[in-house]
């Protein structure tokens, strides 16, 4: 009887259905996970193998023996359609899990884990997680301003607790965001941003100037801004309601390694099983059948998938990734930070030197209508040769809407040279073609070491400053002042009958003001920033209930290129040339939560750089505008002249010195300033030469690394298509030198401003690298790897040497000599790519070529049968 049953079981092998197959695979994944943990722990006990190490070896040996002895059953298992489909389905489900569970930061680093808190008292964990978030919580190291809950914990525990919190909060937010949208499909029940009527009116006027599309886009942005804070608050409430469940879910995901799915042993096991399954099913038939038209496509796809998995295994076992921080001012470097961590410095068998680095911004045009005073930021138009734009839309006499301005870019240049414009006084004072009063000053050369404005460096071996020309326009607020490069005086210009205006300038209403904070609270319904003057130590109450305290200020904020921190300017504020003003502010919310300390740098717009979202109070947008005239600094002077022809230099102490054209002004410091021309209504001719065509295509172009400004030639047509039509061809350059970036139309209706848009990502970054090695004597020498074009890297075009790939990844606007280079060592790449190509070719054969060929054969057969 027993024999019969045994025989029966042998004759009817187990059939793997859709219930049993996934369970078996899940079991194997669990075994794989356990084996992975054991392998990671193998031999870590120091000298000799421990009992569990021997157990692991025994397990491996017995598994191998089992697989060999049961090879027929194993083959049957993998050849089952149900197993194959289950493997693919479970792979898909695993990846779905990886999408639904946010992966931990830097998950690609195989050693990265969510910190274990098993030895930290639960009440400490609970108190820390419940405490309001501080800026210090984002830092992976201990800081003096860390949460008080961490006080008293051993350093290592405190660090783990901070790491856990960072990951948990990212998880909590991502899941809350997802659940909120899942429970509000199609936006049902979400807050709607209702625009106030005055905003809508302003938008309509905006639309008349810049077009309806621009207006509608602005309205969409405003709706998003108005509803943003409410939505964020609702997500916060949702998270708070489900805090415990989210915490449990996070711990469960951590325990099951779902938040590092793709680096887990269970996932690797699954992919391994999938590979074995594909292998068994690919070679079921003989070569002749596999290469038949019916099968060859599917065979190729399977071969491709196997190749991808093999390549993936090679990558998994060998890959190292990191970032190499290079600077033009530094020598060759052979050390990169693996996975971006300064704790994992890794050396290459050679060194790299940055020979060139360049960043090119998008050429951009802004069109302003002086009379409109729109609060909204003006549209920015990215330019290219042939670019056209119609603006200032108004109904014509026939009632049809027509543009009253037509712009057309005739030519763009990667480099332009700006010469000093030629200025002369209009023969008729009231000539509408004139640009009003203008002072042309000659700045004599400065000796080496005297310049403070950064044009000549930071002291030491800085070169002398060459002779320059300065153009000051007393009626143009941003261009009426000269700041001495040696920072010994500030001089403003004033034009008029009397000197009352000049006296007012010399005695600023608020001499202690350091500048203005542009404040916008998106969630409080603010779309436009408000300029708020500030003093050091002042507390400002702003919208949204925030209090902003200006704690520290410098006019000369600098970072060490080596990444070691800020280079502090120890001089008093008044002695610092305002090259890069910066302030630290302390932000306290209405409800009195934890304050946020934020650095504001005048030259940087955190929002445009995408960093605003990383701030604890991210709905409060702040930017800095330094007051260079009124803030502490060297003595102030005003150069005044008037229609009667007299000119004088007024000082703060009330003294007046006559100014004679061609003779130096009596100003303090080493600078020699001569008023070359003091004009009443200047006519001028700009001198702008376009030197090189725009950078096009991914080709090496030395002009990319040039520091010259970009150039533009644009045709401006006023009232096109009407009898009043008037066309100007204007040359501009993206520099404020000699007003080369500005143009006003003769009727003073509108202005053009041309610039490189450095607010967000640039047009491109490029670096030229050189490989350096050591010779037998240990001396560094440069390896000859051909011309620069062969060693240039761009985003999308890496440099390969010695098995390493180097690609352009980082750049920092305030550090123009720094280039962040991604480093990858991965021998699996060509194998995987080959597999992918095979898969594409196989799919094309199976689903395109095969049906076409079969259809033709079938048609021929039908025709042959039909033939008499």
């Amino acid at each position: 009887m027993v024999g019969d049953v045994a025989q029966s079981a042998q004759s009817r092998p187990l059939r793997w259905g859709f219930a049993l197959a996934p369970l078996a695979i899940l079991l194997l994944m669990c075994v794989g996970q356990a084996a992975g943990v054991a392998r990671a722990d193998f031999g870590s006990g120091g000298a000799g193998l421990r009992a569990k190490d021997w157990l692991f070896l025994a397990f491996l040996a017995s598994t191998a023996a089992f697989l060999w002895l049961q090879r027929a059953a194993v083959a049957r298992f993998f050849r089952s359609m149900h197993v194959g489909v289950s493997l693919i389905t479970l792979t898909a489900l695993s990846i779905i899990t990886g999408v639904l569970v946010p992966q931990i930061e830097n998950f690609e680093d195989p050693t990265e884990r969510v910190s274990s808190l098993s030895d930290v008292p639960e009440d400490v964990v609970a108190r820390y997680l419940a405490s309001p978030k501080l800026a210090a919580d984002e830092d992976s190291r201990l800081r003096p301003d860390d949460n008080p809950v961490l006080t008293g914990l051993p350093t290592e525990q405190a660090l783990r607790l901070k790491g856990y919190r960072r990951e948990y909060e990212a998880f909590r937010w991502a899941e809350g965001y997802f659940l909120y949208h899942l429970t509000h499909p199609y936006g049902i029940g979400m807050p709607k941003g209702i625009l106030p009527p005055q905003v809508v009116q302003s938008l309509d006027r905006f639309g008349e100037r810049y077009g309806k599309e621009e207006r509608d886009n602005r309205e969409i942005e405003m709706h998003a801004a108005f509803s943003g804070r409410e939505k964020t608050a609702e997500i916060g409430k949702l998270i708070a309601r489900h805090e415990n469940a989210l915490r449990r879910a996070f711990d469960l995901c951590t325990a099951l390694q779902l938040n590092r799915t793709y680096k887990s042993s269970w996932f690797a096991t699954l992919l391994g099983l999938l590979g074995v399954g594909v292998f068994f099913n690919t070679f079921r038939a003989g070569a002749e059948r596999l290469l038949s038209l019916r099968k060859v496509g599917f065979f190729t796809v399977h071969a491709g998938v196997m190749t991808i998995l093999v390549g993936g295994l090679v990558s998994k076992l060998n890959t190292d990734r990191g970032i190499l921080h290079l600077d033009l001012t530094e020598g060759p470097t052979d050390t990169y930070w693996a996975y971006g961590s300064s704790d994992k410095k890794t050396r290459m068998p050679f060194a790299l030197k940055l020979e060139r680095f360049g960043r090119k911004d998008w050429p951009t045009l802004e069109v302003g209508f002086p009379g409109d005073n729109f609060k909204s930021r003006l549209p920015e138009y990215t330019l290219w040769p042939g670019f056209k734009k119609d603006l200032d839309i108004a109904p014509g006499e026939d009632g049809v809407l027509r543009p009253r301005i037509h712009l057309e870019v005739l030519s763009l240049a990667a480099r332009a040279r700006v010469g000093t414009p030629r200025f002369w006084d209009a023969p008729v004072r009231g000539d509408p073609g004139g640009i009003g009063p203008l002072a042309e000053l000659s700045l004599g050369p400065l000796p080496s070491g005297a310049a403070e404005d950064g044009a000549a460096g930071d002291g030491g071996a800085e070169p002398a400053l060459q002779e320059q020309t300065a153009l000051l326009k007393p009626d143009y607020p941003e261009r009426d002042t000269l700041y001495d490069p040696a920072w010994k005086f500030r001089m403003r210009t004033d034009y008029g009958e009397g000197v009352e205006g000049a006296r007012r300038s010399l005695a600023p209403a608020d001499p202690g003001v350091l500048g203005y904070l542009a404040v916008r609270v998106a969630g409080a319904g603010e779309v436009e920033a408000r300029r708020v003057p500030f003093h050091l130590g002042e507390k400002l109450e702003v919208a949204g209930g925030y209090t902003v305290e200006v704690q520290e200020a410098t006019a000369n904020f600098r970072l060490d290129p080596g990444g070691k921190g800020e280079i502090r300017d120890s001089r008093p504020l008044a002695e610092q040339y305002p090259r890069s003003p910066g302030v630290y502010v302390n932000i306290t919310p209405k409800e009195g939560g934890q304050p946020e300390r934020r650095l504001l740098i005048e030259a940087l717009d955190w929002e445009a750089h995408g960093r605003q979202k990383t701030f604890p109070y991210k709905d409060l947008v702040l930017s800095l505008e330094w007051e260079r005239w009124a803030s502490p600094g060297p003595p102030r002077f005003v150069l005044h002249w008037g229609p009667n022809g007299s000119a004088e230099l007024l000082a703060e102490d009330g003294t007046k010195t006559p100014v004679e054209p061609g003779k130096p002004l009596s100003l303090p410091g080493p600078a020699r300033i001569v008023a070359t021309h003091l004009l009443h209504n200047a006519l001028y001719e700009k001198q702008i030469d376009l030197l090189a065509p725009p950078i096009e295509g991914p080709r090496f172009d030395p002009d990319f690394y040039s520091q010259d400004p970009m150039g533009l030639e644009i045709a401006v047509t006023s009232f096109p298509g009407t009898p009043r039509a008037h066309r100007d061809v204007v040359r501009m350059a993206a520099t404020d030198e000699s007003l080369a970036n500005l143009w006003s139309d003769p009727g003073q209706r509108f202005d053009l401003r041309f610039y490189g848009n450095d607010k967000a990502l640039p047009f491109e970054w490029r670096s030229v690298l050189a490989v350096w090695k050591k010779d037998a004597d240990g001396k560094l020498y440069k390896v000859d790897l051909g011309p620069e074009r062969d060693r240039e890297i761009r985003v999308n075009d890496y440099f390969y040497y010695g098995g390493y790939r180097f690609f352009q990844t980082n750049a920092i606007p305030e550090l123009p000599t720094y280039s962040g280079i991604g480093v990858v060592y991965d021998p699996g790449i060509p194998v995987v790519l080959m597999g992918m190509y095979l898969t594409i070719v196989g799919a094309a054969i199976a689903f395109v070529i095969r049906p076409i060929v079969e259809s033709r054969r079938s048609r021929k057969l039908t025709q042959a049968e039909a033939a008499p």
Binding site: V400, N810, V824, V848
Partner: protein, 396 residues
């Protein structure tokens, strides 16, 4: 109503003008489709082919489809000129590309499936598909009008020769897979309404069908309108006592399964090529062919769902409604990849959120530069920084 665009014709850019023409053609096309459907239906009932004027009317949907496609191509072409790059940088541009792909795909499938050649009954299916595509294009354009159409510069990583083929392949495959799922959807709504009005379908099947057609979030965008409109049509057929019987339904299930598979077969090579082209591109940009980014993963999930479909259908013998249900599941995955992606938990730090207007692209920025760490350092009140005002910084 997009036809409002015609009132400000002179101020519209070229892409806007052609988009407005496309919308007009879609509305016109729906009327033509309805007329052609009625003509085909009557011919089918009489058991004869269309001749003369009705035959020309029967070709109307194809004519309108091609005309709409030409208008949409003109719109995309103009948009490319207006933004000076391949126009797929913003969500509005990508959706316009998708509607173009829908029209291309429907035109290709019209000839590849050759439904109209099978007789007037099958021509109705073709009419329905053309109608659904034209309606889909029209309503997608209506949705696009709620999005920003502002031009955005291409970030450096998108300035690659892989950008157009990668995106075109994926979008064409998504459109084709979507149409394959529409074929399946036609079957499911037919079975649901026939079962409801005439019976003969098990209650459990009816409940599952209803849940699938009406309750799946996000899929409802397509399934609910189709369910409602088809309900009206089947109500009329029921009153006319023209509902298909069980044998006709069985044949329909078999044949629509075949048709949907053929549509799928057109799309899957493009899906495969599109997914792997993304890997080739990533390899060139970051020397990382697969970064397990959530967008890559959702595309891979879609591909795997379709691989499951192939295996079930070709090896497991899954045919008919079971196979078509998997196909609809694949289309849902496409929808998730394409539209719901931005809400998925792991997408918050994705490198692929270029199309999200609220996100400033930060692609290419991998790892923290030392100066970013320095910024964090100097943000500490003690241990660095500019020092307190009392330190004599200000004014000496």
């Amino acid at each position: 109503m997009s036809l409002e665009a015609f009132s400000r014709w002179s101020t519209l850019a070229g892409s806007g003008r052609w988009s407005a023409i496309t919308d007009l053609l879609c509305l016109l096309g729906l009327l033509v489709v309805a007329a052609a459907g009625i003509a085909h239906g009557r011919a089918s009932l009489r058991g004869e082919r269309l001749r003369g004027l009705p035959a020309r009317l029967g070709n109307g949907p194809l004519v309108v489809l091609v005309a709409t496609l030409v208008a949409m191509f003109a719109s995309i072409w103009n948009r490319g000129l207006e933004v000076h790059h391949f126009p797929s940088q913003t969500m509005s541009e990508v959706l316009n590309m998708f509607t173009t792909a829908l029209l291309v795909s429907m035109t290709v499938l019209h000839f590849a499936l050759a439904l109209t050649r099978r007789g007037p009954g099958w021509a109705i299916v073709d009419d329905v598909l053309v109608g659904l595509v034209l309606g889909g294009v029209y309503f997608t354009h209506a949705y696009i009008r709620t999005l920003s159409t502002a031009q955005r510069d291409l970030p450096p990583a998108l300035q690659s020769y892989w950008f157009p083929p990668h995106l075109s392949c994926l979008i064409f495959s998504y459109a084709t897979m979507g149409i394959a799922a529409l074929v399946a959807l036609v079957f499911f709504v037919t079975r649901f309404w026939t079962g409801l009005f005439a019976g003969g379908v098990p209650r459990k099947t009816q409940l599952v069908s209803f849940a699938g057609l009406a309750l799946v979030p996000f899929a409802q965008v397509v399934t609910l309108p189709v369910l409602i409109v088809s309900g009206a049509v089947f109500l009329v057929l029921w009153r006319l006592k023209r509902l298909p019987g069980p044998s006709r339904m069985a044949a329909l299930e078999r044949e629509l399964d075949e048709v949907s598979f053929r549509a799928f077969a057109v799309g899957i090579p493009f899906l495969t090529a599109g997914v792997w082209m993304g890997a080739f591109w990533a390899q060139e940009a970051w020397a990382n062919y697969w970064g397990w980014d959530s967008k890559e993963n959702t595309a891979l999930i879609t591909w795997l769902v379709y691989i499951v479909y192939i295996h079930l259908r070709m090896l497991g013998g899954y045919r008919g409604s079971k196979a078509m249900a998997v196909l609809v599941g694949g289309a849902l995955s496409v929808f998730m990849t394409f539209q719901v992606f931005g809400y998925l938990p792991d997408s918050q730090k994705s490198l692929h959120r270029y199309t999200d207007d609220a996100v400033v692209p930060s692609e290419g920025q991998q790892g923290k530069a030392p100066t970013e760490q320095a910024r964090a350092d100097v943000s500490q009140p003690a241990g660095g920084g500019m020092g307190a005002p009392s330190a004599g910084r200000v004014g000496g």
